[in-house]
């Protein structure tokens, strides 16, 4: 149906991202395609756990299968926005959540007064006027965690289905931020079991609820005795896509999760993060805070006692 209706049709699951944007005329559509057909179950298999894209964020945050094996993921889902939005919003929706910018997430009247930006109706970037690209921020809490856990996402098109790593779903562009075809739908997230994975997500925002992340860190690691066997670190809300920090993660491998290692790794992780002035609080401060959230996430993951060992 989506391919027939073309670009003026959009999918809607929970609607928590879409409807405000329709009201602010950031999206203009002729048709909405409801995704009620998406499954809403969490299935734990021998090798993996499959989370249907229609699972609400509230359900994901409390699902025992996720809390036990991938606590960081459940935690990230539980930190999205606010309780009533988590009852409507889905994990598929949060993976696809539109990039954000405080020049863009404004009403039509405000954007008209400010001068439209290239993400909608205009041709310049108001954050970085000399830039030829859009710098809107990836604002998903669950995507960085899914990437850190090596999860895969299933995309269903009109004729076929394909699976790709969550990391491959994103592009470094504030406008074309998703690598999926417009008519493809995210139908499931598959998280491979990797015995004894520890995971943690730390989200920075002004208030205890409602706010989008203004920085965040997702960490997944496996231990071999006292030392780190494998590690992935992914940052939220500091780039137009979930920003992975491979050098910092590699640095952790083979080391104990002690204060000094964590501090050095966090410093390395923070280096590529270059927040711009388009979210709450100053970008200088957010840049400084990246190190802190990575440290906290590493330390929390390090302290974790995995509840499922293999």
């Amino acid at each position: 149906m989506a391919s027939e209706l073309g670009p003026r049709a959009m999918f809607v699951a929970g609607g928590t991202d879409l409807f405000p944007k329709l009201k602010r005329r950031q999206f203009e559509v002729d048709a909405l395609i409801g995704l009620d057909f998406l499954g809403d179950r969490v299935r734990r298999g021998d090798d993996d756990t499959v989370v249907d894209a229609g699972v609400t964020l509230a359900a994901a945050s409390t699902a025992e299968a996720l809390r036990a094996e991938f606590p960081g993921y459940a935690e990230a889902a539980g930190l999205v926005s606010s309780p009533p939005l988590r009852n409507a919003g889905t994990i598929g929706g949060n993976l696809c959540v539109d990039t954000r910018c405080n020049y863009y997430d404004m009403t039509y009247e405000w954007r008209k007064a400010a001068g439209f930006c290239m993400k909608k109706d205009g041709d310049i970037c108001l954050v970085a006027p000399s830039s030829s690209r859009c710098w809107a921020l990836s604002s998903s809490d669950t995507a960085p965690m899914a990437i850190a856990l090596g999860a895969l996402v299933t995309l269903a098109g009109p004729n076929d289905e394909r699976e790709l790593p969550v990391a491959a779903l994103y592009r470094d562009d504030g406008i074309d931020y998703l690598a999926k075809q417009p008519h493809e739908v995210v139908t499931a997230l598959r998280v491979p079991s990797a015995g004894g994975t520890r995971s943690a997500y730390v989200k920075l925002r002004r208030r205890g609820s409602i706010d989008f992340p203004i920085a965040g860190a997702a960490v997944a690691m496996r231990m071999d005795g006292d030392t780190v066997a494998s590690c992935r670190i992914v940052l939220s809300a500091v780039a137009s896509y979930p920003l992975e920090a491979p050098a910092a993660a590699a640095f952790m491998v083979g080391k104990r999760v002690d204060e000094e290692t964590v501090r050095s790794a966090a410093e390395m992780a923070a280096k590529p993060a270059k927040p711009l002035d388009n979210a709450d609080l100053s970008h200088f401060w957010r840049k400084r805070m990246v190190r802190v959230v990575v440290e906290q996430a590493l330390a929390r993951a390090g302290d974790q006692q995995p509840r499922f060992d293999g």
Binding site: N102, T107, A114, R206, D280
Partner: protein, 789 residues
């Protein structure tokens, strides 16, 4: 049950009389009304901060099917404004716009979407002018034209300069003199309910239901702009969804729906979008402040000099009063023997600022509380002891002619200091406690427009057992209806739910000036006592005559008047006197001092508060977590402790929001974030535990000794937060809000050996006029002083 003070209702923690309406969804707020054939109104607003309007073409909008009327400023050219001295607003502006959001045209259509589309179809040609977006820019020569054509020089709106006593001599006597500069960023009320108004026009008469705090002032503004006699206009306060000062001006949308109803003959409703609420604003002024205080070595204040510069936004609103308020109440908490105040308000191309909870006084309160804290540390004195040593005394006059009657500051301080464990607090980096005090008016002693009439009036009608009280007071959620019912019930020996209320309706109720300046309990309360006592006297006289005894021997209470039930007594009284009505009114005492500008500051009584805040502040991230707040409030006498606590707790909440996160800021001429997502209002998870202490001082003139509770308790919270951050980290954040980035920057400066502070570096040069010198009054209230006004 009557308590040991002889009260059976007063002082009891009773539910609000409208509680059931509010918890069942049955209270009717303005936007809940949708009479048949209602037209929906949307307002076209300026996209430019500063521009001349060259032309407005509404023809395309008028052609859209469903559009019933389109109006512009030419249809409503008469200017209005809340203060008589600043009639500078138009409901719709057709000559010049002064901020992004300034109303230009309005459409009434059968659907809201059609009205919005019609607004979009209105073609306005502008001559864009250079916007003025800061205090500094407003003080400088404008590149294009000035924002307003009055005031000056440049974009200065108002300058005031007053000196009470000999300030230079005071400084000469001091052993230590200190200057500080502070900045308080603007913020807004953010009521949960968007402003809304609906008007009908039937038989030559306009009726307006509105979410307003001031039905009377809206009534006056409508009469002026619509050019109708007041008796052709009725204003009714709908159930109210929150004000905090934000609905205390007459607003464009209220006038516009009335005009559109007159043109179309149909009901017309306008509910502002959340974004428009940010443009309606009238919130906290951004204020830059400089203060110098002299003290003796043992910690007595010898003189104070206070300067303020207020960023007023584009229009006058309450701004002249706000300006005076930044200098008025310093003396009501501290005994300052010589005091100089220089104030300035400027126009900028932003939504107009006005009165938000504490009106003009939270900013200077923040400044002087921190400033005195710094002085105490300079002198090596304990800040609590130092402040206490300088407290005003009850039954005195301040140097600027403010009359202090009851004052419970000492009790307030004792409560919060003892209960918080402030003296024995844990001293470790990152953990801190801060202390501050404050005071606020129980109603402004002068009306907004000059007159000698009562400020509040109450009528009571009793017939065949039913009691109805009528009063213009507007319940905005604070519980003024419940206070009225409690007072009438107490006097007539009934319970609050026995009293029917008719309030906030300019056709059926006698005047009350509105819910602002914390005036309703004090003023409507006193009027209600007078009316109820007159009614009681009639009931008692009738009962006594039938009992064959003395009126003095007739007991009133528990639903009985002497030997009779209330119903029986009311029948006897109606038989004896005819229609049973009584009236009471309240006019504040004439206590303003003999100088120009003395009308701002006097109040029949001042409330007092003290606060301790306990927090953790992270040196590395600057993140602050409030652990707990202790707050004591001298309310004189709590007519209903539940409502008092509610006001105190709500004030703490709003104070914490202002202290830590709320700010109305601008970028490239636009409000940076006119949304509830980006304007940060604390959630359930950001609010600490609050311990409230009600202090009672029984004010001699308050109703049963009561004073205000709605605004004062906000004031000390803000400086207490900043003082606690200093206690935790050793850095001064001399600027509100105290955000993590400011703390981090102050920590960086401290580490580099620079002054451990974040705040404004300087106070600008302002062309204040020479001070008007005012001789202080006799301090002792028992010594007569000639009040001039």
């Amino acid at each position: 049950m009557t308590d040991s003070n002889g009260f059976s209702v007063i002082g009891k923690a009773l539910p609000k009389v409208d509680g059931a309406m509010r918890v069942t969804g049955q209270a009717i707020y303005a936007d809940d009304m949708l009479p048949g054939r209602t037209l929906h109104c949307r307002i076209l607003r300026s996209p430019h901060p500063h521009a001349r309007i060259k032309s407005i073409d509404t023809s395309a909008a008028r052609r859209i099917p469903g559009v019933q009327a389109v109006i512009t400023g030419e249809d409503l050219p008469v200017k209005f404004g809340i203060l008589p001295v600043t009639q500078d607003e138009r409901a719709l502006e057709h000559e010049k716009v002064r901020y992004v959001g300034d109303p230009i045209a309005a459409v009434a259509a059968t659907e809201e979407e059609i009205a919005a589309a019609a607004c979009d179809a209105i073609d306005v040609e502008f001559d864009v002018l250079e916007p003025v977006m800061s205090i500094d820019a407003a003080l400088a020569n404008p590149r294009d034209e000035r924002i307003q054509d009055y005031g000056g020089p440049n974009n200065i709106h108002k300058l005031v300069a007053l000196e009470f006593g000999d300030v230079d001599a005071g400084f000469a006597k001091a052993d230590h003199v200190r200057d500080d500069v502070f900045f308080f960023q603007g913020n807004t009320h953010l009521p949960m309910e968007q402003h809304s108004a609906i008007a009908t026009y039937v038989d030559g008469k306009v009726t307006l239901w509105s979410s307003t705090q001031v039905v009377h002032y809206v009534h006056r503004a409508l009469a002026k702009v619509l050019e109708l006699p007041m008796n052709r206009i009725r204003v009714i306060g709908a159930a109210h969804g929150g004000g905090f000062g934000g609905k205390t001006d007459p607003f464009a949308h209220e006038i516009v729906v009335a005009k559109l109803a007159m043109l179309t003959g149909r009901p017309v409703k306008c509910t502002l979008t959340r974004e428009e609420v940010f443009y309606a604003h009238r919130g906290r002024h951004p204020v830059l402040m400089w203060v110098r205080t002299g003290v003796t070595k043992d910690g007595l204040i010898t003189a104070m000099h206070f300067r303020s510069a207020l960023d007023g936004g584009a229009y006058g609103s309450y701004g002249v009063a706000s300006t005076f308020y930044t200098g008025a109440l310093q003396t009501v908490t501290y005994d300052i023997p010589a005091y100089r105040f220089e104030g300035c308000r400027v126009f900028t191309n932003k939504p107009p600022c006005g009165p938000k909870r504490g009106h003009g006084t939270p900013q200077p309160r923040f400044a002087i509380e921190l400033h005195l804290e710094k002085i105490a540390r300079d002198l090596g004195l304990d800040p609590v002891d130092f402040k206490r040593r300088n407290f005003v005394k009850p039954m005195t006059r301040t140097v600027n002619w403010l009359r202090v009657t009851s004052c419970g500051l000492d009790d307030c301080v004792k409560n919060v200091i003892d209960q918080s464990g402030y003296r024995n607090r844990e001293r470790r980096p990152g953990r801190g406690m801060g202390f501050a005090i404050s005071s606020y008016l129980s109603g402004a002693g002068t009306a907004i427009y000059w007159n000698d009439m009562p400020h509040s009036e109450v009528q009571i009608k009793v017939d065949r057992g039913g009691v109805t009280a009528y009063c213009g007071a507007m319940d905005i959620g604070q519980g003024s209806d419940s206070v009225l019912a409690a007072i009438v019930a107490e006097e007539l020996g009934l319970q609050p739910d026995d009293i029917r209320l008719v309030t906030a309706d300019t056709d059926t109720t006698p005047i009350d000036l509105g819910s602002y300046s914390s005036r309703v309990t004090f003023m409507a309360g006193n009027a209600a006592i007078e009316a109820a006592r007159k009614m009681r006297a009639m009931l008692v006289e009738a009962a006594a005559a039938n009992m064959g005894g003395d009126p003095e021997s007739v007991a009133v209470g528990a639903g009985r008047i002497g030997d009779f039930s209330f119903e029986e007594a009311s029948i006897l009284a109606e038989t004896r006197f005819g229609t049973l009505t009584s009236a009471g009114s309240y006019t504040p005492p004439k206590i303003a001092g003999p100088y120009k500008g003395s009308g701002v500051g006097p109040s029949p009584a001042y409330s007092y508060s003290a606060c301790v805040v306990d927090l953790d502040a992270d040196a590395r991230t600057g993140l602050v977590k409030i652990n707990k707040v202790w707050i004591a409030h001298d309310v004189g006498h709590a007519i209903n402790p539940l409502l008092v606590e509610g006001q105190v707790e709500g004030s703490v909440y709003m104070g914490l929001g202002e202290a830590l996160m709320e700010e109305q800021t601008f970028r490239k001429g636009l409000h940076k974030w006119p949304s509830m997502l980006e304007y940060k209002s604390p959630t359930f998870l950001d609010m600490p535990e609050v311990e409230t202490f009600i202090v009672e001082t029984n004010d001699p003139e308050g109703p049963y000794g009561a004073k205000e509770a709605g605004q004062g308790p906000l004031l000390p919270v803000i400086p207490a937060v900043s003082a606690a951050v200093f206690d935790a980290l050793g850095v001064w954040i001399d600027e509100i809000p105290v955000t993590p980035e400011k703390i981090v920057e102050a920590m960086r400066r401290k580490a580099k050996g620079e002054p451990a502070r974040y705040g404004p570096p300087r106070f600008p040069d302002i062309p204040y006029p020479p001070c008007i010198k005012v001789e202080p009054p006799p301090k002792d209230l028992n010594v007569a002083a000639p009040a001039a006004i």
